[in-house]
Point group: D2
């Protein structure tokens, strides 16, 4: 995105005339709307809007206060900073998702920078270091979950990430951990959720004899594998595939689904609507 491009995000009770009001404020501020998305959740009567506009030196605070005045009181209005999003990656042993993230980060392809990788195993350290990214090894062995998480949380407090990306991090985060980073933790689950929730989805898929396997990127909530889904994809398998080959096929989907989901989130294109997402 150009530096003079801004994104306006609105969530408020639906009523007639919102688009007219919002576009009026932007117009009087001299902004040009580049891309506009609206959605009304008619079940809950909530209006969602994402507007990309050329800011032309606009006074952001001014716009926000003008919008606050004319929109319903309950409205949530924001214009996120246009600096790159800060990401901390949590990993375990598998490299495919981490590799995708580090490579995109190295070439500065997307609107994020990876500021640290934390893992509960050491095998990805050399690889991460080759990309000049900080690697922290925080084992889960011999200590309680709470203690291990405390060490991770300490780093997160220092780094102040916009998003925490679980790149095949194979530990379940405690509700306490999750509550500290609500709507900020993105996970890749190696199945087509809600099929094969929990551990060993490849094995479960193999045993069920499905003909497609999938991957799901979702926000993490305190309920395992139940958070709002951002993106999903699948690939065909057949009777000749075993758990090993299914894993290989799935990993190619996982990394692409994860990187696309992270990219959408970092471009402020994902809004959480209860246990669902709106993707603009």
């Amino acid at each position: 995105m150009n530096e003079d491009k801004k994104v306006l995000l609105i969530k408020c009770p639906d009523e007639k005339g919102i688009i007219h009001k919002v576009s009026g404020v932007l117009l009087s501020g001299g902004c040009n709307i580049v891309r506009n998305g609206e959605f009304v959740d008619t079940d809950k009567n909530i209006f969602y809007m994402r507007t990309e506009f050329e800011a032309n030196g606009l006074d952001v605070e001014n716009v926000l206060s003008e919008l606050k005045e004319i929109l319903p009181k309950e409205a949530e209005i924001s214009i996120p900073s246009s600096r790159k999003k800060r990401i901390v990656v949590l990993a375990t042993k598998e490299h495919h998702c981490l590799s995708e993230l580090l490579s995109r980060n190295y070439f500065e392809e997307f609107n994020f920078e990876i500021i640290a990788v934390i893992a509960n195993h050491e095998n990805l350290e050399d690889f991460t270091n080759r990309f000049g990214v900080k690697f922290k090894y925080i084992s889960h062995e011999g200590i309680k979950k709470q203690q291990q998480e405390a060490k991770i949380l300490e780093i997160l407090e220092q780094e102040e990430p916009d998003f925490i990306v679980l790149a095949k991090y194979m530990r379940i985060l405690s509700p306490n951990f999750v509550s500290k980073y609500k709507s900020k933790i993105i996970n890749i689950h190696h199945s087509f959720l809600p099929a094969f929730i929990g551990a060993n989805p490849y094995r479960k898929a193999y045993e069920r004899g499905v003909k497609l396997i999938g991957a799901t990127a979702h926000f993490v909530t305190s309920e395992l594998d139940q958070g709002p889904i951002i993106l999903q994809d699948v690939a065909k398998i057949d009777h000749a595939d075993n758990i090993f080959s299914m894993k290989k096929i799935s990993q190619d989907i996982e990394k692409l689904v994860l990187i696309k989901a992270v990219r959408l989130a970092c471009d402020d294109k994902v809004i959480i609507n209860g246990n669902k997402t709106i993707i603009f």
Copy 2:
């Protein structure tokens, strides 16, 4: 669509404030915007908009004249009638696309009614009649293309279709014919255009050894297979497929691509932009 829902279509030179103006007119008319799509072709500086709104007994003519006043002179503005679109189907011998159209028509699934089927072979007559749809056999044999087309045009003039759907009609329409129904003829081509333009795309695909075959729904222009593309899809094939099996695989895609394209057109979701389409 509910009967009180209307669609507003706008095409005009881009300038600041169009959304604000248009939403203002609808708001003052008491309409509620249900769904909104905008697109700016930045190459040509053209603004496109499609707005679905609850009309609530609105005076359509009034809205159109108000919009004409406040939008740039060159603006093309329309609110299509919400009656079902009238379709005439042209076919040859293959039944899969026709069958899909007739079945959807029989169950009144979409926003169209098929008022006649015209074919240059007789084999689909019984099938068409079973669905209670008029069938006209107009052979191309022993007469000039111009004569055959004249007979078809005569029927079209009586039936006044909104769209003419070529459901595997295997004759090339003359420029004269096409010019009479500009932007109203939808064809399904049995390849992933622009690959394998012209005759025998299955054979060409077989000979080239491609690993995917496709289908393309597009508007017909006077240049063969060059009109604006509405929709495309593909399916995997492998070295063991021959022309016969490729045809079977392709036909399943063809009928779905065609029916989806026809549905989009009949819902006023397709706008032609030069040799491209905008799909809202």
Copy 3:
């Protein structure tokens, strides 16, 4: 398939030399192998084979007895009749899968003939009759499941179908019914199994906020939605889709997944391996 083409199906404990033995018998019978598929389930040490060959007037009984002699005792060996498979369709109210089956049947596209449609509602009667196929209305209202099923079973006993196709038949078949037609009942489930097992999968998918919806063709067993899967496919949806639009999108997948599964079964390309299928 040409009339002189036959299919040989073998299931037996795996051991060295089976392919050599089987190909030897066919060779000495003067048959030419056209297409050959093998699979070893290494978990269970079972060998599966499907061989398509030009029979050239072969004495089928001879071949079977020769094979029985040289293969392990437990071997299951068959050469299915090459006449068209007889299908009875069970439906409820939805037409899209039935329509696909009837249209393919009318044009004699595949290796099956539909000999009757049985439904627990009347609305599809006119449509079915238009294709010249027998329609039996057997309501489930006011009678016990056992009684209703008895009426259906009576018809099935007369018609002797090779396969019973549940084309969106919305009643759960009793274990008694299922046991009478083991490995012969093919169902289309309107979700990507094992996600959204049971009733209302569209609603469940909507509420979970998935980004893909799917369809699954499977053999029916006494456990609901747990039978061996033949084929699955998915389509993308987004936050703007509601249950109605999801249904429309899903139906297009359902009918194609079902017809492809039925076609595979009728071409003797599906072998059941426990709760899985092998697709040759």
Copy 4:
């Protein structure tokens, strides 16, 4: 693959009994067939076979000579070495395909090792070095194509690669170069061939207004973009995509199509059949 697994590849004029003969030789050698694929090109009457077997210390030369005796004279029979395939990568400036290859190589995921990267620009040098792979910068500027190619050929002669992978190498190789590495050069073309042959396929796709874009991995022959296709895939785009976003979408497909094609080739699963491939 386990070290004791071998692959047998056969191409010969089709005749009755080949499978029987080949399986007989393997059986008498004490080998167990793990996976078997056959294909007959009925247009040309050529039989192709790929057999994966547990070698159990088999004398490869013995097997080959036995097979030579019993198969037609024209038969091409080989049992490729089971050492990892040696790959030299040619690149220009884009990193996505190279990055995929280097990452897979680093983690030793597949049956290949990358022994050198050669590029006509310098920007990928640091990245390549981070993975401990040799990088050679051979500019095309200020010298004739023949001279630049001579420098590349010199390296190739030293390195003796099994495959040369063009990872978005944006120079056309001369017929002389290609002829030296017949059936050994794998290219990724950034379109769905045969659509948009030659330069600037993203731009051409944008201008044609297609709704899907694709990528094609193929062997390089002296005719531009005409070599045997190994693998293809596509992704959806819409009217809002411009050349920049299409490029991003396409690159995700390109790298996966290329890595899968390279993997297939290195596993000896690709056989060239004229201007087509057979993928076992």
